[in-house]
Amino acid sequence: MASLVRRSPRLSPQIFIPIAHLWNVILALVCISASVNIWGLSDFGNLGRPVQVFAAVVVLVPVVIALYISVGLLLHSLRKNPSGWLPKGHQTRYAAMVFYYVGMVLCAAALVETWAIFDGFEFLVNGFMANAWLGYGFALAYVLSWLSGRTFLPETLKRTLRYASLVTGFGTLIILLAASDFVGGMTSILSTYRQFNVIALTIAILVFAFLATQFLLHGEHFGERPHERTSWQGWLLLSPNIIGFMIFFAGPLLLSFYLSFTNSTVGRTPEFIGLQNYIDLMTLEFQTQTNLADPPQRALSFGFNVLGTLELGNTRYVLGAKDPLFWLSLRNTLLFCLLLVPLGVLPALGLSVVLNSSLPGVKIFRAIYFLPSVAAVVGTALIWRWLYDPVIGFYNYIITSVVNFLNTLGLNVVDPQIQWLTDPNVVLFSIVFLAAWQILGYNTVLFLAGLQGIPKQLYEAAQIDGANRWQQFLNVTLPMLSPTTFFVLITTIVTGLQVFNEPYGLFPARPIPVNATTSVFYLYNAGFFQFRFGYASAIAWVLFVIIFGITFLQFRFNRSNAYE
């Protein structure tokens, strides 16, 4: 692309600057009318008046930038060197480059959208499904081309092979294009040029591209200094990331923040309700009750539900919450993490130490342990759902067999007959076991890498000092491994805090047991079962604060360890 720019013709500033002025005026008019239009819409995707006003204002931003550029260009052509906030020459140029580039990208996106290519991935799948057999053609072409690169073959054969590979590849391609109706696709694209907006967008793209290039090429005209010459390249390289970041990250983040202060729900325009969501979510009530015969519910105000009770002597202390399920889900999530850490980390540490002792076959074991981490959680959860089945499942069968064996030895053990997926006291453990199984191999590999990074000399020195294996582990391995351990702990906890797929796949019935409802699951329920988008956003932000706190800890720790 850079070479393309280099080869572009440079026009004299006398020609392209008037064009830029004209284009700015057109843009300003279009944007102002769009803004007025948005302002007057009766319905704006059910997002509420504030978002609508915000959008109307955002559409006016290009007008301001266009004005800024035009003023800058005028001042520059008048050879005025403005002071203060007025645009200087190079600032004008930068603004114009960015502005026209972004304009071009947005228009291109709009054009692609009009052509419905974004919607067209389904057609791509159709093509794949219908023409899957053509894959053999490409594979054959690849094999031929691979063979032609082998040195042991005679030169003439290689040439024939190369030729054959080209013919096969392009032949398949042509068949593919014909089969997927390339001509039809192109015709349908061309036929859209009867529409006004397609023509307008295409012209806009061309003008934007033209202007952006011209401003780029006329650096010296605007007083560009040599060390600034590469700056635009950095921004250009980053531009896909930045655009994606703005649309799919920063924008939604702001929207989420806004929604958490509204009562946004299905089919209703959200109203701003201040902190009400957070209040409903977090409010607790504490009451005492002296008449123990009364149900605890009676002690609480209207709208509160019992979260927990404690009886001491003749008094019952009742803790109520406006939304007890939120607190319960938070408790479940934290408990989940608390259990996952020992189950998912300690065995991993032990296994990695054993694996590190240079046994033959280590690689095979390492691969086997890692295997669960590559499988989709939904899939493994479904497997475990049936393994956990209390009647036909293997886990209870194994437990029963062990119990029977112990009983034949004369011990008197009762078969627990665990109801893995329904007993409220067990369900959380069922999720933890699955999650620990899934994360164990991953953590083992991390630990193993950490262990292999410990210098051998340290162990030799410890041996000379007379330390035995265990002392070596305590005094050399653990301290040297602490950065890895810390990383493993943090990633395990952060994964644990966001657990969702495991409970979703594991429990067949809806709603899933209360004790298995994790925070993200609760958020999902609030957002997509009850459609309280505002409330769910508030839950998300509370969760975010918790997760961010933990991640921040890791970041700080890593910083202090300075890997760079």
């Binding site: 919607d119 970041f245 983040l253 046994l359 690689k363 590559v374 164990l440 991390l446 990383f487 067949p508």
Partner: protein
């Protein structure tokens, strides 16, 4: 002595390693074996690992399951006749088990219509104080008539030997020793693929492919800019970028969903691809790798008049194969296994746009009574990443290991 200790240590280590290996692999083995079972075979107590089918033999024109009983020291193949007969199980008061009469010590098993009911009953007291009443029957045992308690009665099925119709016996059909053989139902895979899982497989492949390619492109470009191109505001921007890694996806669930509704992208495969090709983590990963490449190589090339893109494509990309492989693997696993986002954005009814994880949930609902089909679906979803893992094991492990070291 030390040698012995060495070998004992090894033995212990291997026992531990193998034990864990079995634990890690067992769910997969179970998945494969169940996916090869037929529907009747899954509901079995105790569970069976091997897919079994009953041995069937044609008897009088109909196919019947074959049982093998040992009669007078000879194992005979028998089939059910379809007839059954009520039997009484008789014993004496001292031999009876009052908690569960079926565990009593039975001394006679006689068809109930061949025993003579008397007017007498005997009442016994259980350990918990409850009373149990038993009828007394006259039963002929070895030519002698005795008065015995009826402990319980049971309907028994009639079995007849295949080779000799005169050899008959009565037994509980449920626990009768059925002959079975290992029989893999490979047809399950075809059946499940035909339930639009083939479509889901292609959808998933395509989504994964495009997400991986997209992430690689944006990450390589971004990583290069952050590591090698000097420009104003770069470090601030990088910090913002780094900060965004810390923001969990949960915060974005609701607004991203609303955004997709606004763009009319919900229910579309595009919503599974385009939002996910921008990755701060990947950019960061590539930047960390590029920063370690010596500056001199690049400077020489730039002086020769190479463009930035040429340098990036011709020098940096070939040099960073391990980092690219790592990123590709991470994004592959992420895209292939993603579930929450597709669940939110692709409607349940829109089966044609389902990815495998969604299809799996659909299967698990409509085949709630046929786990063999569900686990066949699970195998279809799980095996591709497993195969890729086996082929590219080195990159997986190194990638994960380096993520731990670099943070």
């Amino acid at each position: 002595m030390t040698k012995l200790r060495f070998y004992l240590g090894r033995l212990l280590a291997y026992a531990l390693l193998i034990g864990f290996a079995v634990f890690m692999l067992f769910p997969f083995i179970y998945m494969m074996s169940t996916s090869l079972k037929n529907s009747n075979d899954v509901f079995r107590v105790p569970p069976q690992l091997f897919p079994l089918s009953p041995v069937q033999r044609e008897v009088n024109g109909t196919l019947k399951d074959v049982y093998s009983f040992e009669i007078d020291g000879r194992v005979r193949e028998m089939v059910q006749t379809g007839e059954s007969r009520n039997f009484g199980f008789f014993t004496t008061p001292d031999r009876i088990n009052l908690n569960n009469t079926r565990n009593s010590n039975i001394i006679a098993q006689v068809p109930i219509d061949e025993a003579l009911k008397t007017d007498k009953t005997i009442t016994l007291t259980r350990a918990d104080g409850k009373e149990a009443r038993f009828d007394v029957y006259e039963v002929t045992l070895d030519g002698k008539t005795e008065q015995l308690l009826l402990a319980y009665r049971s309907g028994l099925a009639e079995f007849v030997a295949i080779d000799d119709e005169t050899v008959k016996l009565y037994a509980v059909a449920r626990t009768a020793p059925k002959q079975e053989f290992i029989d893999f139902q490979w047809g399950n895979y075809n059946a499940v693929l035909n339930l639009q899982l083939d479509r889901a497989l292609v959808n998933t492949t395509l989504v994964t492919l495009l997400v991986v390619v997209g992430q690689l492109v944006t990450s390589i470009l971004g990583g290069y800019a952050f590591s090698r191109v000097e420009f104003r505001g770069r470090d601030t921007l990088f910090l913002v970028y780094l900060g965004s890694i810390m923001i969990p996806f949960v915060v974005l669930i609701i607004p991203m969903y609303r955004l997709m509704v606004l763009l009319e992208w919900q229910n579309r495969i595009v919503s599974l691809i385009v939002p996910w090709i921008f990755t701060a983590y990947g950019t960061f990963l590539m930047r960390q790798f590029f920063i370690a490449i010596p500056k001199e190589i690049e400077e020489a090339a730039l002086l020769d008049g190479c463009s930035r893109f040429r340098v990036l494509w011709g020098i940096f990309v070939p040099l960073s194969t391990p980092a690219i492989a790592t990123l590709a693997i991470f994004s592959f696993l992420y895209a292939w296994n993603s579930f929450l986002w597709p669940l939110l954005i692709i409607g349940e009814g829109n089966v044609t746009n389902h990815v495998l994880t969604l299809s799996l949930i659909r299967l698990s609902n409509s085949f709630a009574d046929q786990p063999n089909m569900v686990l066949t679906g699970a195998a279809i979803a799980i095996l591709p990443p497993v195969i890729v893992f086996v082929l590219a094991q080195k990159y997986f492990i190194e990638g994960v290991a380096s993520s731990g070291l670099k943070g």
